[in-house]
């Protein structure tokens, strides 16, 4: 307790630890929002720079909500949304690859493509919530904090996302 109270974001080590813990997720969060890699990186960097420059005024425990607030505000300036391009991890769960059936692999490939397209067609709010959960493993409470909305609203978005995805994939079929 005492230690966290003393720790200042202005100390480079503290800032570095905080950055390591949150940079990737913030970056992803912005990427889901913008669908643009460069813009996401810029906005994430901007948020951390603001934190670094204002480190004296932001206690460590408030730092996370600070960067998301900055990020949420910066997103207001972005007009055009681009497609979110995702990748599939190369080393997939080996459990699922016990059968080397080529037909199965082909089907799997096709499904993956469909899923990706469906994700691209989600609304921005659904996609952000869904991907923060799926890719970044964030809990609904954490997502609610990041988006500055209620947990119920997050659940609604996740549910909506799943329904949309299913419909989209079925339609393509």
């Amino acid at each position: 307790m005492e230690k966290t109270a003393v720790e200042s974001v202005c100390e480079e080590l503290v800032f570095a630890r905080f950055f390591k813990a949150h940079a990737k997720v913030l970056h992803n969060f912005l990427y889901y929002k913008f669908g643009n890699e460069a813009q996401a990186a810029d906005a994430a960097q901007e948020a951390f720079i603001k934190l670094w420059e204002n480190c004296e005024n932001v206690p460590l425990e408030k730092a996370r909500s600070y960067i998301y607030t900055v990020a949420n505000h910066s997103s207001l300036n972005v007009i055009a949304h681009q497609k979110v391009v995702l990748e599939y991890a190369k080393v997939a769960n080996p459990m699922r690859h016990t059968s080397e059936n080529p037909e199965f692999i082909l089907e799997e490939q096709q499904f993956k493509i469909k899923l990706e397209r469906a994700i691209q067609n989600l609304t921005e709010s659904q996609r952000t919530a869904f991907l923060l959960h799926r890719i970044d493993g964030k809990k609904y409470t954490e997502i609610a904090e990041m988006l500055e909305i209620s947990v119920k609203a997050v659940e609604k978005r996740i549910h909506g996302a799943l329904v949309s995805l299913r419909l989209e994939i079925e339609n393509i079929k």
Binding site: E12, F15, A16, F19, K20, A23, K24, H27, N28, Y31, E37, A41, A44, Q45, F48, I49, W52, E53, V85, L86, E87, Y88, A89, A92, N93, R96, E108, F111, K112, L115, E116, I119, F130, L131, H133, R134, I135, K139, Y140, K152, V154, E155, K156, I158, H159, L162, V163, L165, R166, I169, E170
Partner: protein, 298 residues
Amino acid sequence: MKEQHDLAKWLEGKMTESERAAFEKTAEFALYGKIKMYSDDLKTPDFDADLMFEKIVRRPKAKPVVQMKTNRFLRIAAVLVVGLGLLLVYNTFSETSVLAQNGKTETFLLPDDSEVTLNSGSEIHYQKFGWNKKRSLKLDGEAYFKVIKGKTFDVNTNLGKVTVVGTQFNVKARRQRFEVTCFEGKVRVQNHSENVLIAKGERTTFESGKKINSIPVTSQKPQWLQNELAFNADKLSAVIAELERVYNVSIQPENVDLDEKFTGTIPSNNIGLALQIVSSAYHFEYFQNKKLIVFRHR
């Protein structure tokens, strides 16, 4: 539908056993299962967090740092300005002192450019503020003045006061001896009993407040400025004191009559000759060990 956010619950693994069993029986479950499974493998394009970190931290913390520097600089500057201001005020209002230590003379200018040369072991106090309205200073010892024409110029000593308008004169106020020599213009000399006006080339001398004969003025400047020490019926003690001041030495008289008078001139830049003259005039011998000199009756 009651299952408003049920899928969210399921995705999070928060469905109850029975809820899940029911859900797994639905037609859509298979597809949701696939969505869940494959979305698990998704990842975002690689992102170089280290590079970004370097960019953020190595970025000169431009605004705040520069501001801090400016602030600090301004603070220092402000302190200096205030300090200098106070010093100026202090200098102007406080008394200014000039001291010529033993063995040295000191020449300086007063605020109106009047020139003062202090003989060894002499001191002047004056106030810079309002100097041009009231030219007045305090002298302890001997000094030569070249006064710029203007308002009256007062030299105050323990033994009397000298008032001039614009002139060159020497004031000597040592022990009981008060002597004023005028080299140019006119000088008014006052002590508790007398009030004399002397003109160029004149001199007035007091010993213990009484007027005594003066030696005629033969030079254009005080003799001490020409490396000569002139004495006029001065007591030996006064001569010794003058030697001590001018040569910055310490003189110990032994078996010597300190009240015996001395009249004459001795050099102020040749201690050997000066000691020889004095000792032969009084018939005593002297011993010198660096800065210490002993006078002993023969």
